[in-house]
Subunit: 212 residues, 2 copies
């Protein structure tokens, strides 16, 4: 088994991937650890430490090869695979996710939305069909589903998540306002709590007020 | 000036607030540090350390008074103030934010949406009006705006953020796919990168596959 890498490091990897992608788009072929550090506003030593978790990718006196590092980090993040996503909850947030073309470019393909609201039946979002929730079981049998995004009220989130796991979906991207805790060891959950991020913002607003 | 508290601690505070709120709803008046620890799946020592940053709130042999701790953390997070929010970008995501009643209960009041799309002019979302972007300057002069949420394409995000800062808005909640870096010291930015969280999820998917 590989060495356990801290979630703090993992949280920073998508940001590296994003910055390296922008460098690639700008036609930059290599970058020194100092230049990357300035651009990303983290210390060069932090970058070296983070990347050393995966074996390190720099060469003394050369820096980093942008394309190589971008591709390697992409592999670490599983972006060399395609992930099929279904979205449970076809309200504004579910539709917003379906409309993000950016996800598709990263290999995340939203293949269906589900809702209980009959008014949404037959609707499509960017060509992606909204199904009724009672079609979920059949859909999951007939299609490869890798990730379920939950954009539904918190009251139903836990029970829906358990049902999805029973259907064989082992990755949950949870937007409901509750920490999903699933007992199965091989299920991964990523919680996105928008109000938590709003509270962090207001903490920093108050801190600023105090410093004035 | 107060001791600088790490952002890692700040990131955990909204979660404490959320769990304590649930305990309050359940009628729980006090809780031992061990019970809170079990419920939140963090160690009791982590809880004590986190809360000690703010002076600590527990009593040996008593545990925590749920309402008191909830209120105190609320104050730390600035939830004893009302924050007026405008949303720039009235697409699905902007509308999803406007529809979250939860934010209002925390003191975050969305007072207007803005967009450049004339088709949205005059529309309302949960009674909140969509304005055209050219009305932004006047609106900010006539209304107290504390936070601007950016739910617009990344190409326009940086220039819009700078303009908002010029209009006196010192807190940005950024959903655009770019790290906003504003030079003004008294501006706070909270970035929500949905694709970063999706990449963390896929990292954990791949890690699980390897362990099988």
């Amino acid at each position: 088994m590989e060495k356990e890498i801290s979630q703090a490091v993992i949280r920073r990897m998508p940001r590296y991937y994003r910055y390296l992608g922008e460098l690639l788009d700008d036609g930059v072929e290599r970058i020194s650890s100092n230049d990357l550090s300035n651009r990303m506003c983290v210390t060069a030593s932090q970058i070296r430490q983070d990347l050393n978790n995966f074996g390190g990718f720099g060469q003394q006196g050369y820096g980093y090869n942008v394309k190589y590092l971008h591709d390697e980090i992409g592999k670490i993040l599983g972006l060399d695979q395609t992930h099929n996503i279904i979205v449970i909850g076809a309200g504004n947030l579910g539709q917003a996710l379906a409309n993000y073309v950016k996800f598709e470019r990263l290999g995340f393909r939203i293949i269906a939305l589900f809702d209980v609201n009959p008014a949404l039946q037959g609707m499509t979002v960017r060509g992606i069909k909204v199904h009724m929730l009672d079609e979920l079981d059949d859909f999951c049998k007939e299609n490869q589903v890798d990730i379920a995004a939950l954009t539904m009220p918190k009251e139903k989130a836990s029970i829906t998540a358990s049902h999805l796991v029973d259907l064989g979906i082992h990755a949950i991207w949870n937007f409901a306002h509750v920490d999903l805790e699933l007992s199965q060891q091989d299920v991964v959950v990523e919680n996105v709590h928008l109000s938590d991020s709003l509270m962090q913002l207001s903490y920093n607003i108050v801190k600023n007020q105090k410093q004035k």
